[in-house]
């Protein structure tokens, strides 16, 4: 199954569970407070996910390494390479 397929199945499952419990077709009634709490659940979950995303991306952005040393090493390597290759007869 494709990822899209998995998502659709998952959403269908959760969606129907939520609809069954929160929208309350007769015959499956939970007490009113529970129904009222469940009703805005999808929105809450979306907001929570949004906050989680922002926090995660923000954290990862802050901890994104800057490779000063690697850059310096690379410059050294480049100089060594050019010198060696020139010595061996390569025409740049």
């Amino acid at each position: 199954m494709t990822k899209l397929g998995q998502w659709l199945c998952g959403l269908a499952l959760l969606g129907s569970a939520w609809a069954a419990l929160a929208l309350a077709p007769p015959g499956l009634r939970l007490p009113a407070p529970y129904r009222q709490a469940l009703l805005p659940l999808p929105i809450y979950l979306l907001v929570v996910f949004g906050c989680y995303s922002l926090a995660t991306v923000g954290y990862r952005l802050a901890t994104f390494n800057d490779c000063e040393q690697a850059a310096a090493e690379l410059q050294e390597h480049i100089s060594a390479a050019r010198a060696d290759l020139r010595q061996r007869g390569l025409c740049f």
Binding site: D66, C67, A71, I78, R88, L90
Partner: protein
């Protein structure tokens, strides 16, 4: 740990106008491999560069020997990384294939080769873990990179932290199998390879790499690139 043994590494370098960088990349690779005692060859696949890349490649071939440097030219309107790899693999005699860019953005590291000892089918370089990272990126570019990677992780759950890096090591049979299955173009192709590899049950190891921004020339990351990335991502989401 045996020193190389019967293993041979074929490095595929697709090039377009890399006259300046190519000798340096080859020199670094040759030195890295010699120091590690591994048998290697470098296959340069040039897309008809007008700047003299091929002349330089031929000089390198003379310098290092044509068992070590192999120059193949393809002139094709459809040149993409995928085409270059297919072409390159036909000439590869190693049992491990290393794929990397010829523009010196990947800091060639010995560590990378050693990681193979974990007996992985694929080893992928990552900028996002360990002491991997970037150099010369401003905040905007880092943000876009992390944001895009986050979306990719959520949607594709690929089991690898960096999908758009193109510094990878594959077992030859694994790469051949994946090339048959993958249909995307450009760097989305790189992403698809990892996703499909996971589906096929191949093991993927990760090694931190330093991505040093283009030594010569400029890298662009404009609106167009972002849009095409999202399109590619959604395509993979819907088809894999």
């Amino acid at each position: 740990m045996e020193a190389g043994g019967a293993d041979k590494f074929s490095v595929l370098l697709p090039t377009y106008n890399e006259r300046e960088n190519l000798p340096l990349v080859v020199w670094l690779l040759a030195r890295t491999f010699r120091e590690s005692g591994n048998n290697f060859e470098i296959i340069i696949i040039d897309d008809g560069s007008p700047d003299g890349t091929q002349e330089i490649a031929e000089q390198l071939e003379k310098l290092y020997g044509s068992d070590k440097i192999v120059m193949r030219e393809i002139i094709s309107v459809l040149f993409s990384s995928g085409t270059a790899y297919i072409h390159g693999m036909k000439h590869a005699t190693g049992n491990f294939i290393v794929i990397m860019d010829a523009d010196l953005s990947h800091h060639v590291s010995l560590y990378f080769i050693k990681q193979k000892e974990g007996n992985f089918d694929i080893v992928s370089g990552t900028r996002y873990k360990g002491n991997g990272g970037v150099y010369g990126w401003d905040l905007k570019r880092k943000l876009i990179s992390r944001g895009a990677n986050f979306i990719t992780q959520v949607l594709l759950r690929p089991g690898a932290s960096d999908l758009t890096g193109s510094f990878r090591l594959y077992r030859k049979e694994v790469l051949q199998k994946l090339m048959e299955k993958c249909v995307s173009k450009g760097y989305v192709f790189q992403m698809e390879m990892i996703v499909r590899a996971r589906q096929l049950g191949y093991t993927i190891g990760e090694v931190p790499i330093s991505f040093v921004d283009r030594v010569y020339g400029e890298s662009k990351l404009g609106g167009n690139e972002i849009v095409s990335f999202l399109k590619g991502l959604l395509t993979l989401f819907a088809t894999t």
